[in-house]
């Protein structure tokens, strides 16, 4: 076992509402090793996004703690790259300037990072698109820009919140392949949130299965399929079994409310 990149202990989050408090996350504990790809899968409203916001330091936990690279997460920090469900690009910035946004915000040397940004854009398959504007690109291409932006400042951890959820099924499969390819080049620790079990199984080294509200971790499944994985494995028996097992968890433990 390599060093722990993330360590989450007893993390809970409550939201106060008019009629009492809602428990979004209840006593979550898990650890992610360096370079590991962990997918968190669960039904909508299970607090997946809350978990991501806590780890990104966008809100404080109600109790428990999360440690990243040896230091407690107390607020937003610079060694995390986040990819949201929508690309969240700035339409007044060119593709290149969008990728360089973290560089501008964190006051890093712009000149030095331009080449790195161009390399990243080439890596995600957007060579020669750097002078374009986001609205000239398709949804899949915009999300590729967002991935480049999350990687430009060399973060230790990549947080991805249903990054391909808004894409059509074909593009989504393709982006899964692309993400795998990108991550084989740029080894990162990844926490990937999704509500698609096949997507989680295809991409991850480990899948954390979460229950509906209050969000708890039901299971922690290790994926043994070798990399690089091709889309063909999705129709193989081993893959089908993994997906079936995880789906069965939801039904057995009341993961779905409806």
């Amino acid at each position: 076992m390599t060093a722990e990149a993330i360590s989450v202990r007893g993390l809970s989050k409550y939201y106060p509402t008019r009629d009492g408090r809602i428990t979004a996350l209840q006593d979550i504990s898990f650890a992610v090793s360096e370079g590991e790809f962990v997918a968190v899968v669960g039904p909508s409203g299970c607090g997946k996004s809350t978990l991501l916001k806590l780890l990104a330091g966008l809100m404080p936990p109600s109790s428990g703690e999360a440690v990243l690279g040896g230091t407690l997460i107390t607020g937003p920090r610079r060694d995390i790259g986040v990819v949201f469900q929508s690309p969240v690009l700035f339409p007044w910035r060119t593709v290149l300037d969008n990728v360089l946004l973290p560089v501008d915000v964190q006051g890093l040397d712009r000149q030095r990072h331009v080449q790195a940004a161009l390399n990243l854009l080439a890596l995600v398959g957007l060579k020669e698109f750097e002078r374009r504007y986001p609205w000239e690109l398709s949804g899949g291409m915009q999300q590729r820009v967002a991935i480049s932006r999350a990687l430009i400042h060399g973060p230790a951890l990549l947080l991805m919140d249903e990054p391909f959820g808004a894409l059509d099924a074909m593009t989504r499969e393709h982006m899964n392949l692309e993400l795998q390819r990108i991550l084989l080049e740029e080894r990162k620790t990844v926490l990937f949130i999704t509500h698609s079990i096949p997507e989680a199984v295809f991409l991850a080294d480990r899948v954390l299965v979460m229950s509906a509200r209050p969000g708890r971790i039901l299971d922690d499944v290790r994926m043994k399929m070798a990399r690089p994985r091709s889309l063909d494995i999705m129709s193989g028996p081993a893959f089908g079994e993994c997906v079936r097992d995880i789906r069965a968890q939801f039904h057995a433990k009341g993961g779905f409310d409806g």
Partner: protein
């Protein structure tokens, strides 16, 4: 080809309309002091410009409008920013702003003349007062309109409040601010003209007043033409700036396409989708 035909048709229709008006007014022998025929209006326009009279007054009206516009929108933008960014300013100042906003600002013109006299400062203050509110409200709404996801993105990068303002909130507010400037420009012209009505030594509004006393209706019509051209030109200036600043705004792109007409929009689509060109050729 269709474009040229439309232009010709437009000119023909315009000429027919003017000629028709001329004929009807002359046939019905409408008195000149009620409704002058177009020829008299054109003559008044010619006289006014060739004698330099209109130029002199136009200069004052334009100066008042532009100064008022600048002062009003600068003030509106600054205060709007303060209200949007500072909770205390918002809480304590905003109720007064709302109260003041529901007041028709031109009703203040007589008081302004008492305070600032018959010189151009009166008109500038008047124009600034009416130009102020569209900017204030639009800046406020615009600065608060920044997309929640984008704010979260900036925060996740550990951006400071200042950075979020300059890199995100301000650009996000620009479409609103530009829309405010659009309105403020025309409002400033109204403010200046009303101010001149109430009391001034120069300006097209004052000229309309004095022509009215002399029953010179043709002259008044000729100034209305000048004023609408002025309004149009000022509006166009803002539109040019807006197109340069907001090239990225979806509503601005839609507007530009509509202005350029169907042909340009069609061309854009072909450029965007290479597949279409094949179809077009086939």
């Amino acid at each position: 080809m269709r474009g040229t035909r439309n232009v010709v048709l437009t000119i023909v229709l315009f000429c027919a309309g003017v000629a028709g008006a001329e004929a009807i007014i002359r046939l019905l022998e409408v008195p000149v002091y009620i409704l002058p025929p177009p020829s008299k209006v054109v003559a008044a326009l010619w006289r006014g410009f060739s004698s330099g009279l209109y130029i002199h007054h136009l200069y004052y009206t334009l100066l008042e409008t532009l100064l008022g516009f600048l002062a009003g929108s600068l003030l509106g933008f600054s205060l709007g920013t303060a209200v949007a960014l500072n909770r205390f300013v918002d809480y304590f100042l905003y109720p007064y702003i709302v109260m003041f906003q529901s007041l028709p600002k031109v009703a203040l013109a007589p008081i302004i003349v008492i305070w600032f006299g018959l010189g151009i400062s009166s008109m500038v203050v008047n124009a600034a007062l009416v130009a102020f509110f569209p900017l204030l409200v639009n800046t406020m709404v615009g600065l608060r309109s920044a997309d929640e996801d984008r704010v979260n993105l900036m925060r996740s990068l550990a951006a400071t409040g200042r950075q979020i303002f300059w890199m995100l909130r301000l650009p996000s507010a620009l479409p609103f601010v530009m829309a405010g400037l659009d309105v403020a420009m025309i409002f400033a012209l109204i403010g200046a003209i009303v101010g001149e009505f109430v009391g001034s030594r120069a300006g097209l509004g004052m000229l309309i007043q004095s022509m009215n006393f002399n029953m010179d209706v043709a002259g008044q019509f000729s100034i209305l033409i000048v004023l609408s051209v002025v309004g149009l030109v000022l509006n166009k200036c803002i539109a040019v700036i807006r197109r340069r600043v907001l090239f990225w705004d979806p509503s601005e792109k839609a507007r530009t396409e509509r202005w350029l007409g169907d042909e340009a929009a069609g061309r854009r689509e072909i450029v965007a989708e290479p597949g279409r060109t094949e179809e077009a050729k086939a």
